[in-house]
């Protein structure tokens, strides 16, 4: 039983329309580059996304610190990640790349700070 699906590529602003034939292998058509083919194969097996959000930060110039998953995680897990991050509070100073949560929602992917945020008091 093969499954056919169409997705828009998210690897670059071109946004190629990828046609996926999903069997034991995933066949990708409509891509214009290698990254598109890789993306299509991944989409056919398990769509993955980077999750951007914010956490509360104390004593900083802004009330929120932007954070994201360091790598992309399964699309099915996005809501779990959001729930795990909710209510999380960090304290300034923070440096870009600092690990805010080591292993978020059992994905074994860390959540990292997207920017420096100095302490302001």
């Amino acid at each position: 039983m093969s499954d056919e699906r169409e997705v828009l590529c998210i690897r670059c602003p071109k946004g190629c329309r990828l046609e996926l034939k999903i069997d034991e292998e995933v066949i990708v058509e409509g891509n214009q580059c290698k990254a598109g083919e890789d993306h299509g194969k991944q989409e056919g097996r398990e769509p993955k996304r980077i999750v951007p959000t914010t956490v509360k930060i104390k004593d900083a110039r802004w009330p929120r610190l932007p954070v994201r998953t360091k790598e992309s995680i399964s699309l099915d897990k996005v809501k779990d990640v959001m729930e795990a991050v909710e209510g999380f509070v960090v304290e300034a100073p923070i440096e870009k790349g600092d690990v805010v949560i080591k292993d978020v929602a059992g994905t074994s992917v860390p959540v990292i700070a997207e920017r420096d945020m100095e302490k302001i008091r």
Partner: protein, 412 residues
Amino acid sequence: MKDVVVIGGGPSGLAVSSELAKKGYDVVLLERNDELGGLLQQCIHDGFGTDLFGESLSGPEFADIFISRVRGEDVDIKLEAYVRSVNKEEGLFNIVTVTPKSVEELEARSVVYAIGCRERNQFEIKIGGTRPSGVYTAGTVQRLINLYGILPGKDVVILGGGDVGMIVARHLFLEGVNSILMVYPEEFFSGLPRNAQQCILDFDIPYRPRTIVRDILGDKKVKAVELVDVDEDWEPIPGTEEIYHCDSVILSVGLVPYSEKLEDLGARVDKKTSGPMINEYFETTVDGAFSVGNLIQIFDYVDDAVKTSFTAAEGVERYLENESKKDLGIELKPGDNVRTVTPQRVDERTGEKFSVFFRPAIEKEDPKVEVMSKGEVLESCVKRYVSPSILEEISISKDILLGEEEVIIDVR
């Protein structure tokens, strides 16, 4: 006396400042906010930098690269410095800034405007009804959510299927609002396909093409909107009106280059891009006044916006070294199937190739892009697919333009 004053500390302003400082010029960077990075600080999603750095960065991460570059060079950075006026007298620019402490004057041989764009608001589109609170532009909501952690409401209607609207829809969904409905008059989302996929389609956020908000209803606060279906010409179809309850309305109805300041200086503005008219080195019609980034036109992609800064830095260098001759003066114009073309003119005979950005007016598979003069095709190439959602770039060699006066870029 400074060599260059750069106005605006967003990505394009940062990039042009560090490039010019690296060339050894005395650069002042003016930023009205109290931190650098511009709009990117609120664009916390990833997707930036895939072209320039080969990886998908968030807005703050992308900004940080250029902030570090500026800090690594000898650039005089002035924060909380609002530019009150710029005047040109006897070949020099006089710049008056207002800071929390004082009013200051600067003198410079050249000036680069990197002041970006602003969002179109509810008073610039045909939208009726009352004027309750709870109506926001998409960028304002992005700022509220990502810098302050504040959601605008619980039941949200987004008008417009542009990039900022789609990205904000995803933030609203992830941060847990009750309901979201996106409506837009086009057949398909007007923003980038990748945002349609990863912001709307990924999460099954409801959307209605060929629909607009006709009226906003509510006394003090938004209570509902009147939706109406529209035809291909965006004209409302009678009998399709529907009252839809919501507590906030978010407008994602386009960005406009912030070119009023350059107009004050006497620079000519292109009615189609709403940005200043520029040559291939990003010099405006005022000698020595340059323009970069989203002030020129709305780029889809920050990487492209920032690339303008690299070429502009070359242009500023040529100007400061008295190398620019302006011995060509060829006008570039959009054909029938193209909305905008930049640069609007090619001034210099020297230099081999230059980049032309154009936004198609039509959607087409395998179209031919033609560079034409007096009805003759000078050069053409085939693209796989074009649409108004995607800004296109082609490279043109100056050789083929020599002797021409007006050159048309078209797709067919």
